[in-house]
């Protein structure tokens, strides 16, 4: 009964720049290392667990779709150096007990196979950090907290590697961007309106405030917290703007940024106050939910929102990684709501897991002989363009989070898909499940540049 009109939108979102789908399969974009060891007949197991039915389910579910699609793609291609891919995963519902139990089960059922584990949430990373080190298991996580990657003092070694820059570094990077564009941000004062959990308040630390102040960007000391269940956040937004904020920065997902943007429009502040956030605000869900409120100029409320974009996004249709993932996405007939960051990045994570294994096996000699320490050696010396440049996996000098970032802006496509719309007249409107829909675009504003290192001060 539902989602009948959705495939239409998928076609439009990136379709214009793509060759006809039915024609030929695109080549795998990644520059994987050559197989020196034949692993035919063996099984390469991808382990991952995280919250599929708990509070973050709305962003994590596409991970499973991407994992399924990527694994069936690889097995259809004859596997990785002959080895068939397989996945073992568990739904922890965002619960620590369940995460611990899943970890115990994985480690005791697969004592030899489990050398590399993908985690979704930094809370799991914090819980397992010492255990991963003791059991010598490397873990990939998309965005870890400081504590999960670097311990309580921000400088302890660890076995977790994140593909995104730390949230605090993303915030510092945004301050750089603000300081460098005085015409867009005159007299910048940043106020936090954000979720209250550890993720939400990353970046409110004094170190970040000090760093930004040195760049000439004031950051309000008091963050304003709101909950995902809040119906009305006028009070929080007004607290921030009354204190002088002309930029609102948020670490929230899905309805969070959309709610703030809508409130700004309600208050008539959409021109005076800019909205910005972490990499997760630059997401399809935000683009779709942000259409509930239109600005006086007729474009959705989140039009013009800034955010970090440490990897390529769906709208960069000329990039081979995006083209490839998009083709797979269409072949597997995924719903538009799954066309988000999690789907894209999960393909990248699978690619980096495969590359990690190929390199390690080439060095060690066989899949059975691989240990967590070998994987770690590979990761530490890796400098690899994941999926041919979706993001860069490079961890050196004790850095275990993403080093590069860019700033992007959320826009909506214009009618001939050639760029952003300037108003409702030239915007591309398609039939969506809830009436006419604008098509979100994420446009990078800067190149990839190194982020400032703000932890451990």
């Amino acid at each position: 009964m539902k989602r009948l009109c959705i495939p239409l939108l998928i076609l439009l979102l990136a379709g214009a720049a793509l060759p006809s789908l039915a024609q030929d399969m695109l080549a795998y974009p990644s520059d994987l290392s050559a197989c020196e060891v034949d692993m035919t007949g063996e099984t390469l197991t991808v382990f991952h667990f995280g919250d599929l039915s708990g509070p973050y389910a709305f962003i994590t579910q596409p991970i499973i779709s991407a994992m399924n699609d990527a694994i069936s793609y690889w097995n259809g291609q004859g596997g990785v150096c002959g080895a068939q891919l397989e996945q073992v995963y568990e739904d922890t519902g965002g619960n620590r007990e369940a995460a611990q139990s899943a970890y115990d089960r994985f480690t005791s059922q697969y004592p030899d196979e489990l050398d590399l584990l993908m985690l979704y949430s930094s809370d799991d990373g914090e819980l397992l950090r010492e255990q991963l080190a003791a059991d010598e298991i490397v873990s990939y996580i998309s965005a870890g907290s400081i504590e999960s990657l670097y311990g309580e003092d921000g400088m302890t070694p660890g076995w977790l590697y994140a593909s995104n820059p730390l949230y605090i570094n993303q915030f510092g990077f945004f301050c750089q961007f603000v300081a460098a564009s005085p015409e867009t941000f005159p007299d910048p004062v940043i106020g936090f309106v954000t979720w209250p959990n550890a993720f939400g308040r990353a970046g409110t630390e004094p170190a970040a405030r000090e760093y930004c102040a040195n760049l000439g960007v004031d950051v309000l000391e008091e963050p304003q917290f709101f909950l995902p269940t809040d119906t009305d956040i006028l009070t929080q937004v007004q607290n921030a703007t009354d204190a002088g904020a002309n930029i609102i920065y948020t670490n929230s997902l899905a309805s969070g940024p959309a709610l703030i943007a809508g409130t700004l429009v309600d208050l008539g502040l959409e021109e005076d106050v800019k909205l910005a956030g972490v990499n997760w605000v630059m997401d399809t869900t935000v683009g779709l939910l942000g259409q509930r409120v239109l600005k006086p100029n007729g474009l959705p409320s989140v039009d013009g929102m800034f955010g970090s974009m440490p990897f390529r996004w769906w709208s960069e249709v000329s990039h081979p990684a995006v083209q490839f993932v998009y083709q797979q996405f269409s072949i597997n007939q995924r719903a538009i709501a799954e066309q988000n960051i999690a789907y894209l990045v999960s393909w990248g994570v699978i690619d980096s897991i495969i590359e990690t294994y190929i390199r390690t096996v080439n060095r060690v000699g066989s899949l059975d002989a691989v240990t967590g320490a070998d994987i770690r050696d590979t990761v530490e010396s890796m400098d690899y363009a994941v999926l041919g440049g979706l993001f860069q996996a490079r961890f050196e000098e004790g850095m275990r989070d993403g080093a590069m970032n860019r700033i992007a802006v959320m826009k909506y496509a214009n009618a001939d898909m050639s760029g952003p719309a300037t108003g409702p007249a030239d915007a591309l409107l398609v039939d969506g499940p809830s009436g006419k829909m604008f098509v979100p675009l994420v446009l990078p504003l800067t190149d990839f540049m190194p982020v400032p290192q703000l932890r451990s001060q």
Binding site: D230, D232, D242, A337, S434
Partner: protein, 394 residues
């Protein structure tokens, strides 16, 4: 001295309460003095309107508690299911007829078999069943997208009643005569199942439910700006239209229920059932039917609240947590009081908003103030503001 205290106990207690109230007011007033008048008015408006939504959620919990004495932990998930069903019918232009037929058949069968499956065959009941199925299916599928409100309301009505009756039939009814707390726990299990069902049917991704939209721009209604009071308030306060609609709906629902419980025979029977199920049965009330009606009504109320909340912020699994935030409102008003649910909701709404106004960097509004108020009220009035005083006998 002791004698004096004993004799004037009542006055002294009230004097003490008044003293505490004055101290709190002084403290809050001092804090508020630094704020613009517009902010204070705005916070009050937001608090009352949000409180209306809380009241509506609280009402559903209170109705079940009033009729069966069970505190319903599944209410939040009933909201989600109701909202999602509404979304399915509201946003799809071509309703699948087999789907609608299936839903209305299941609903009618559940309604007609409330007492037992045998009643389905008795008298004119088969006719009524078929008629109901045809009517509901027709309402759900007639016309195109221009009838979306009709489709959605009919669909939500059927879906909510089906949910409520199914919960009552398969989860609560087997526990009649068992310890009450087992039934409370059963609602937790039901919540888990509804959670799973929601994820299967609608996934986890947040959905946009465009019910409060201006047909011209297809975007949400513009808020009403109180420009007339700009000078008086030193700023402009705004009122969100969708919250007013929600508030008005809440008031109507409340008025309806107050009348229902006070003047209709079913309402009276419900109250009697909640007093003592065995006694009610022995005077000839059909406890099963009454409990079934209660759950269906509560599920429908939950659906309304889910639709309103979903329309205001977006439909996601997070809506289920709104019910948790409403617990203090339910208790503040009193577990058995319909009016209390509304007043409790509004008080909690106002307390939350003012807490946020004064200190939102430490979550005073959402995580501390409502519970402090709850503790205070419970210590002064152990049965909530409007709850029934229980007279106990040995």
């Amino acid at each position: 001295m002791t004698e004096f205290i004993n004799r004037n106990r009542r006055h002294l207690t009230w004097a003490l309460y008044a003293l505490v109230a004055v101290l709190i007011l002084l403290f809050v007033g001092d804090q508020l003095a630094g704020k613009r008048a517009a902010r204070v008015v705005q916070t009050l408006i937001s608090g009352v309107l949000v409180g209306g939504v809380y009241g509506l959620v609280a009402l559903g919990i209170v109705v079940i508690n009033k009729a069966s004495g069970v505190f319903n932990f599944a209410h939040g998930w009933m909201m989600v299911v109701g909202g999602m069903i509404f979304w399915s019918f509201f946003t799809v232009s071509e309703i699948s007829v087999p789907g609608a037929l299936l839903l209305s058949t299941a609903t009618m069968l559940m309604i007609m078999s409330t007492v037992s499956w045998r009643t389905l065959r008795e008298g004119r009941n088969p006719l009524i069943t078929v008629g109901g199925i045809v009517l509901l299916t027709a309402l759900m599928t007639v016309g195109g997208i221009e009838f979306q409100w009709l489709h959605a309301l009919a669909g939500t009505f059927a879906g909510a009643i089906l949910t409520g009756l199914a919960v009552e039939r398969f989860a609560i009814r087997p526990l009649i005569g068992q310890p009450l707390f087992t039934a409370v726990l059963m609602t937790l299990a039901v919540a888990e199942v509804l959670h799973g069902v929601t994820q299967i049917a609608w996934g986890t991704v947040e959905l946009n439910l465009p019910i409060f939209v201006d047909p011209h721009t297809n975007s949400r209604f513009r808020p009403i700006r109180l420009d007339a009071f700009r000078d008086l308030l030193d700023g402009v306060a705004i009122v969100r239209v969708e919250l007013i609609i929600a508030f008005v709906l809440a008031i109507i629902a409340f008025a309806g229920f107050i009348v229902f419980f006070r003047y209709t025979s079913v309402g009276l029977a419900m109250r009697a059932t909640s007093e003592d199920q065995q006694l009610a049965q022995s005077v000839g009330l059909r406890v099963r039917v009454i409990l079934a009606i209660t759950w269906a009504v509560a599920a429908f109320l939950a659906s309304i609240a889910g639709v309103l909340q979903g329309g205001a912020v977006g439909l996601s699994l997070n809506i289920s947590y709104v019910a948790l935030r409403v617990f203090p409102a339910v208790l503040l008003g009193g577990l058995e009081s319909i009016a209390g649910a509304l007043i409790g909701g509004i008080i909690i709404g106002i307390v939350e908003q003012f807490g946020t106004l004064l200190n939102s960097s430490e979550q005073v509004g959402t995580n501390l103030a409502p519970y402090l108020v709850l503790m205070l009220v419970l210590i002064i009035r152990p049965d909530g503001l409007f709850g029934e005083k229980r007279i106990e006998r040995i």
